[in-house]
């Protein structure tokens, strides 16, 4: 039942999803959407890892995916807490309002 796919296609799919994630991060001004796009990018890289792991029949790809998952969970919790704080302080989720850190 396992398909025989070419590794290029899988990696290209991951690349495409990653590129879409980048586009999302850049074009959206709402922080929540940016965070969502970052999740897409993380998933895309996870897909690449898993594909590589399956290509060589090794568990390392999935292990890396687990780490990415843990990292994503941590990142989302912190990120969402920050979003809450930002919304409370600025009454807005517009990333362009947060420019205090300019040089």
């Amino acid at each position: 039942m396992k398909p025989s796919v070419s590794i290029e296609v899988v990696v290209l799919l991951a690349g495409l999803l990653f590129a879409l994630g980048i586009v999302g991060v850049i074009i959206r001004k709402n922080i929540i959407f940016m965070l969502l796009s970052v999740e897409i990018m993380l998933n895309a890289s996870g897909l690449a890892f898993v594909a590589a792991g399956s290509r060589w029949g090794q568990p390392d790809g999935q292990v890396m995916f687990v780490f990415i998952l843990a990292m994503a969970a941590a990142e989302v919790s912190i990120g969402l807490a920050l979003i809450l704080q930002i919304y409370h302080q600025h009454k807005s989720l517009d990333i362009d309002n947060l420019k205090e850190m300019n040089g």
């Binding site: 396992k2 709402n30 792991g53 998952l69 990292m71």
Partner: protein, 186 residues
């Protein structure tokens, strides 16, 4: 069964596309969920059943719930969608999209020039993953645990509800007032 792979892939791409273009946050989240489920399907087809399950349980389940909670907390509704519509103009997104397209094109060139053939994905069982995780990558697991711990503490700290503080020297007074207020309330 290649057809299943391509369908799942197409679904993932389309759903992702929808995520980054929706104006309403809730719609975007739902599309992201679809995308994640498509990912899970892909993982499964690639022989990584453990990863597929984790994707569904943790990503589509836990993390998405967190997002929805936040959307709910912030009460993001129609006004946000309106605002998003205003923000998402052609001239805003065309440049970054082209840039990302260039990046993808380069990636395409690199991947296609490598010349790997097709293969049958091997099944990597959860057992193998677990053995690898708790033997070779034990230190990574420990570090991930520390990271999650730090994230929990950090999130709890950052998420504390505080009033808008304009000056750091005023912070203590504000906190004292809050305490007084709470005492009165009690």
């Amino acid at each position: 069964m290649e057809i299943a792979f391509y369908i799942a892939g197409t679904v993932a791409v389309v759903a992702t596309l929808m995520v980054i273009t929706r104006h309403n946050p809730v719609h975007a989240l739902l599309y992201l969920n679809v995308s994640l489920l498509a990912h899970a399907m892909l993982f499964y087809l690639l022989g990584a059943s453990f990863a597929a399950l984790l994707e569904i349980i943790i990503y589509a389940g836990a993390i998405m719930v967190l997002f929805i909670f936040v959307v709910m907390l912030l009460n993001l509704g129609k006004e946000t969608a309106e605002q998003e519509r205003k923000w998402l103009k052609v001239k805003v997104w065309v440049g970054p999209t082209l840039l990302a397209a260039v990046l993808f094109a380069e990636f395409l060139v690199l991947v296609l020039s490598s010349g790997q053939g097709t293969y049958s994905p091997a099944v990597v069982s959860p057992r193998q993953v677990a053995v690898s995780l708790f033997r070779e990558y034990l230190i990574g697991v420990e570090l991930a645990a520390m990271l999650l711990m730090a994230a929990v503490v950090g999130a709890a700290h950052i998420g504390r509800h505080k009033r808008l503080v304009l000056h750091r020297f005023l912070k203590e007074e504000v906190e004292k007032e809050e305490e007084k207020h709470e005492a009165v309330m009690l």
